[in-house]
Point group: C2
Chain length 77, copies 2
């Protein structure tokens, strides 16, 4: 199975959701990307359809926005 | 592992998220509850902290609101 990608920006809502997602689907099934630290991946996240963080992009390309931590504009500052 | 509960109300956003969640965590690990049809469970969902559907309540009681289909007020009509 190909991996999901969990995009986050280190906010408290993000960290909480990250723990939940890893518990639910297993850490080997998800790549965690901190787009606040690794800003080169913001564009990739936006192209995938990520509008806010935290968000999970599934292996088939659907975007699940989980709760609400910050908009992409806030991440970009 | 105890099960997660996926609350939804049959909306297109809900159905799409349901497929994604079942693909990600496996259908044996999640109870799917349609609170539009089974209105007796609306109160249970609200007590768990569900503010909108679709939402996933994890085994440890955290609520993950996934995308946005409808508010609980809309579900209650």
């Amino acid at each position: 199975m190909s991996k999901s990608i969990f995009y986050h920006a280190g906010c408290p809502v993000c960290v909480s959701a990250e723990h939940d997602i890893i518990n639910l689907i297993g850490k080997d099934n998800v790549d965690v990307v901190h787009i606040g630290d690794d800003r080169s991946r913001i564009e990739e996240a936006e192209k995938a359809g990520v509008k806010s963080v935290p968000a999970l992009v599934t292996p088939n390309g659907n975007v699940l926005h989980i709760n609400f931590g910050a908009s992409m504009d806030e991440v970009k500052g």
